[in-house]
Subunit: 253 residues, 2 copies
């Protein structure tokens, strides 16, 4: 059975999408079968993997509303063994449409049952909020991977995020564990980055990945070509660290 | 009557909070009376202005649920003439709690009536989503200021944001205008930034501020001291551009 990992943090712009795409690509490169699930109405994982949203017939939206099976939504990407369940704009309506539904938080968990055995890892990209789409991902997940930008506001939101994780563990998914904490956009020239790293390592003792993603413009350029860093610039610093991260994740953190 | 400006973009981490705090501080420095309204459950504007959330008695949450008047929520900041309506964690519950309420999108507009005449500018910081909190801000606003990070994903989300603005103009707030588009985190050394700037200027002809905020670590450090850049490092590049932006906004864009 494949491992479902939700990549979540309600703070915006911390590297959730960049992590799903590039960790996913390097896991696939290491011969693991990977499914990326884009659960953010922005659809950045979908665009970043070069999938044309206008050409998508079945997306995560139809899957959550039980109008289609997840099997029909899966599409290939530029990397063999890395598949995608795309998101389109209509996903923005799902939170309101599901508000009155019974067991609305378990839609994704139920949907993933149909494909879990075909993959080794299923990585779910979450939107920057703790609403119904993120709750669905946390309820479906075996574990949660938390990207944290090496900046001040990143620390502010941690207690809120962990509070939500504990709520989900208590009421929706007792098996949910912390997969790990990934430090992103580290800039060694600034004290700020170093202070945040120290603080996060103290807060999440033993759960912070050795791999720390540096700020690296090649990571920001790759999505404009619809490619993971593995295809765009595999010799860049950003690529190296995501390859190391994949190795850590395969060893079990 | 003060001008209500919503600072919105559902893409995360583009500089919404940084703009509310620093534009607000420089408008206040130019003798304008400014109210910053933190409408994001993360409460980054509240923390970035040095207000202790644990000490807040009345927040935007009570105001939106009509449990308190906005007048009781207003607190001073380190800058004279810059006041704040703080946000606390309980705001995260407001979206669900207001789902069934009548005229749920107009709560903030109604609340601001009580204080609009006391301020020249009321800047509303929005969360990174197009949910009820952002809808409330767009419904209350005279205009919307859109920060856009000079990166690829920033372009992806624009059509969705403008679609929401048009919906609000049609059904909730016909007077809503585009105040302006602010380019943020510009890094002149990368082609990516230059390409995005060109694309945005073409897309929003005539509505893009001359002031382009550079990537500047002092802007990221200031909130860890609870200070706007005006107080933390007024001679930094980031500070200069936000001062220029304030001048542009006062001239009417
Ligand atoms: N290590 C890095 N170095 C430089 N740029 C990066 C890095 N990681 C991500 N980026 C860029 O920073 C921006 C934010 O990253 P990304 O979109 O992955 O964050 P996110 O958490 O998914 O954002 P959102 O909250 O909007 O979903 C993007 O433009 C991305 O290309
Ligand atoms: N011009 C800049 N140069 C460098 N860092 C910046 C700049 N503007 C903002 N930052 C930093 O980048 C991060 C994102 O900015 P900010 O929090 O203001 O964005 P936001 O749009 O409000 O995010 P969210 O979507 O989570 O509300 C913060 O850590 C902030 O301090
Ligand atoms: Mg994302
Ligand atoms: Mg913010």
């Amino acid at each position: 059975m494949g491992k479902v990992v939700a990549v979540a943090n309600q703070k915006g712009g911390v590297g959730k999408t960049t992590t799903v795409i590039n960790l996913g690509a390097y896991l696939a490169d290491a011969r693991r079968r990977v499914l990326a699930v884009d659960s953010d109405p922005q659809g950045n994982t979908t665009a970043g993997l070069g999938v044309d949203k206008a050409a998508v017939e079945t997306s995560i939206y139809q899957v959550l509303l039980e109008q289609a099976s997840i099997v029909d939504a899966v599409v290939p990407t530029a990397v063999a063994d890395l598949h995608l369940v795309p998101a389109t704009l209509d996903l923005a309506g799902a939170e309101i449409e599901l508000v009155g539904a019974v067991a609305r938080e378990t839609r994704l968990r139920q949907a993933l049952q149909a494909v879990r055995s075909r993959y080794d890892f299923l990585l779910v990209d979450c939107p920057p909020s703790l609403g119904l789409l993120t709750l669905n991902a946390l309820t479906a997940a075996d574990s949660v991977l938390i990207p944290i930008q090496c900046e001040y506001y990143a620390l502010e939101g941690l207690s809120q995020l962990m509070h939500t994780v504990r709520l989900v563990q208590k009421h929706l998914n007792p098996q949910l564990e912390l997969e790990g904490v990934l430090l992103t956009m580290f800039d060694g020239r600034t004290n700020l980055s170093i202070q945040v790293v120290d603080e996060v390592k103290r807060h999440f003792r033993g759960k912070v990945y050795q791999s720390v993603v540096p700020r690296n413009v090649r990571l920001a350029e790759a999505p404009s070509h619809g490619l993971p860093i593995l295809r765009y610039d595999p010799r860049s610093r950003g690529a190296e660290v995501y390859r190391e991260l994949a190795a850590e994740v395969m060893r079990g953190g």
